[in-house]
């Protein structure tokens, strides 16, 4: 059986600016893949590409393909893709504060997804909505379903957005930084609930985040994105134990831990380069402690490493 979602050396450009360069990612059925990177590394763009929504932001695929359940997204008609979105791929947006229509009641907004994709009647859809809200541990689901978006807190709204993503009974959920806009205490809750629901239903999850600790908590595999390229990809355990790419190591070094000495939390010097000025060779070399002449000259080779792979001239040799 083929993978559920497969990005095959996908390159994406907006106008003349190449933003993604040969992204290869695979989400297997029932698997949680974390997609990590700093702002501007192309995470959200990857999500848009996976849903075939690039035209919405003026982007286009310049090379490679997106395959969902073995089918090439580019070969589908727009109507087929629309059926896919919401029906087989659920999407959780970045900012729950603006993700709900302010002039529609909560229940109606969730109902419509299952009515559209599962062909349920009004009553069946509402029953399903209430069931979903309860599973998302929303107290008094009936009251919440009759509420307006402005009456709910951010954490509640994000649960509603997750309910909308689940309502069409999808095989894959793409969550684009689902907790960025929320309080830290609520963040943990939402990630916990999302992780559990996905596992219980055997749904796959593409979790986009810039928070390595979230990845460590819930993901099976992780892909690290830097400046439109995959730096390192593989199972969470080995990567966290011994990151091969210096960028991955630096990201893991950014997770604060209890008992750390003051001042030992490391940052990464510099910033992600803008897509107009991607450096030659390895795009990470200006910020890399291990950069050599080779890194400046040519793009790094993609080396396999255990069950994963790393794109680096000087990968850390695992112990």
């Amino acid at each position: 059986m083929s993978a559920l979602l497969e990005l095959q050396s996908l390159s994406v450009a907006i106008g003349k600016v190449a933003l993604l360069d040969g992204i290869a990612l695979t989400v297997e059925r029932g698997q949680i893949l974390g997609l990590v990177g700093e702002s501007g590394s192309g995470k959200s763009l990857t999500a848009m590409a996976a849903m075939g929504l690039l035209p919405l932001i003026g982007g286009r695929v310049t090379a490679g393909a997106v395959r969902f359940d073995g089918q090439d997204m580019a070969a589908m008609t727009e109507v087929q893709r629309r059926r896919l979105r919401g029906g087989r791929i659920g999407f959780v947006t970045q900012n729950p504060m603006t993700a709900l229509d302010p002039v529609q009641r909560i229940g109606a907004q969730v109902d419509v997804v299952s009515r559209l994709h599962l062909g349920l009647s009004r009553d069946e859809a509402r029953a399903r909505t209430l069931d979903l809200l309860t599973q998302l541990r929303i107290p008094e689901a009936e009251t919440v379903a009759e509420a307006w978006p402005h009456q709910l807190s951010g954490g509640m709204k994000q649960r509603i957005v997750i309910a909308m993503a689940l309502a069409g009974d999808p095989d894959l959920i793409i969550a684009d930084e689902p907790t960025t806009a929320l309080d830290v205490t609520v963040q943990a809750q939402i990630i916990h609930i999302l992780g559990h629901l996905v596992r219980d239903r055997g749904v796959s999850l593409l979790l986009i985040t810039h928070d390595m600790s979230v990845v460590a908590q819930v993901c099976d595999r992780v892909a690290v994105l830097y400046a439109g390229r995959v730096a390192e990809e593989g199972p969470v355990g080995p990567i966290f134990a011994a990151p091969a790419h210096p960028y991955t190591a630096a990201l893991i070094g950014c997770i604060p831990q209890a008992g750390m000495a003051k001042g030992s939390l490391t940052g990464i010097p510099g910033a992600v380069p803008s897509a107009m000025t991607f450096p030659e060779g390895c795009r990470f070399h200006p910020r890399c402690p291990r950069a050599s002449q080779a890194c400046r000259a040519s793009p790094p080779p993609i080396l396999s490493r255990g069950e994963g792979r790393v794109a680096c001239h000087h990968p850390e040799v695992s112990a």
Partner: protein, 279 residues
């Protein structure tokens, strides 16, 4: 939607709203309110000033002025309101389509709208009545077309702002089609400001209708309209000034009332700031 009711609690909103209800009720109940017919001439009774029998006096054919004023409200209000409704409907569809689909459609619509904005409404309406021919229907269509640009522009601007909202992106990513997004998400969110502006435009439309009526292009005699009555009265300013004064007052007070009530409604709806708070 309790904002229209809450607007009544503001002093100027209550006063203005009260007047509007009075005028609309009188127009609806016209045959019950007055013993006279609007079109039966009674020449011996012509040019009478206000009296107990004729509260506002009589006109040059001896017809009761109050009766004609109440029946005139029927014409003026129904023509203006219908015209603006048509205008809002067409404007919203055009504006929403232009903003949502963009491209050549947007460019074409924007160009026509900008072009028509360089002409005053009265000019557009006059040209159209000249083409269609005078009468109630002609005036209605003329007013409707004259105001389409305004609502197209407003709706387009609203939709353009809403288009970038996350909930629209969310709807698309959950498989919603064009029609669903337009009718379920975009138009309902754009509705409140458009309706308030339609209310205010109705005031302008009453003036426009009276103007066209004054030129003799509106409702044809003997059917009364406020503009037509003023036109007849203009010849009698010195002989029987009440014939022109009362319809003029009716137009003025009604239009001021619509504007005052509209202002109160805007304050109560608090449309823009509410949207901003939620973002």
């Amino acid at each position: 939607m309790t904002a229209p009711l809450r607007a009544f609690r503001r002093p100027q909103g209550g006063l203005a709203g009260g007047w509007l209800i009075l005028v609309i009720a009188a127009a609806l109940a016209a045959p019950l309110l007055t013993p006279y017919a609007y079109d039966v001439q009674n020449l011996p009774q012509a040019y009478q000033p206000a009296s107990a029998r004729h509260w506002l006096g009589t006109d040059e054919f001896g017809r009761d002025l109050l009766t004609r004023l109440i029946y005139g409200a029927r014409t003026s209000l129904s023509v203006s309101a219908t015209a603006i409704s048509i205008s809002v409907l067409c404007g919203m569809v055009l504006g929403a389509a232009a903003a949502w689909f963009g491209g050549w459609l947007d460019r074409a619509v924007t160009m026509v709208v900008d072009l028509s904005w360089s002409f005053p409404e009265i000019l557009i309406a006059l040209i159209l009545v000249a083409i269609i021919g005078p009468g109630t229907i002609g005036v209605m269509i003329a007013i409707a077309v004259a105001y389409i640009a305004q609502f197209t522009r407003l709706t387009r601007a609203q939709i353009l702002t809403l288009k970038g909202e996350t909930f629209i992106e969310a709807a698309r990513s959950l498989g919603a089609g064009h029609a669903h997004i337009l009718f379920r998400h975009l138009l309902p969110n754009a509705l409140a400001p458009v309706l308030v502006s339609a209310m205010l435009a109705t005031g302008d439309a009453i003036i426009l209708e009276a103007t066209l009526g004054f030129f003799g292009l509106g409702a044809q005699p003997p059917v009364p309209s406020w503009g037509g009555m003023m036109s007849a009265g203009s010849a009698l300013v010195f002989k029987a000034p009440w014939v022109i004064i009362f319809p003029g007052l009716a137009v003025a007070v009604t239009v001021v009332a619509i504007n005052l009530y509209g202002d109160a409604l805007i304050a109560e709806l608090d449309i823009r700031s509410r949207l901003r708070r939620e973002a």
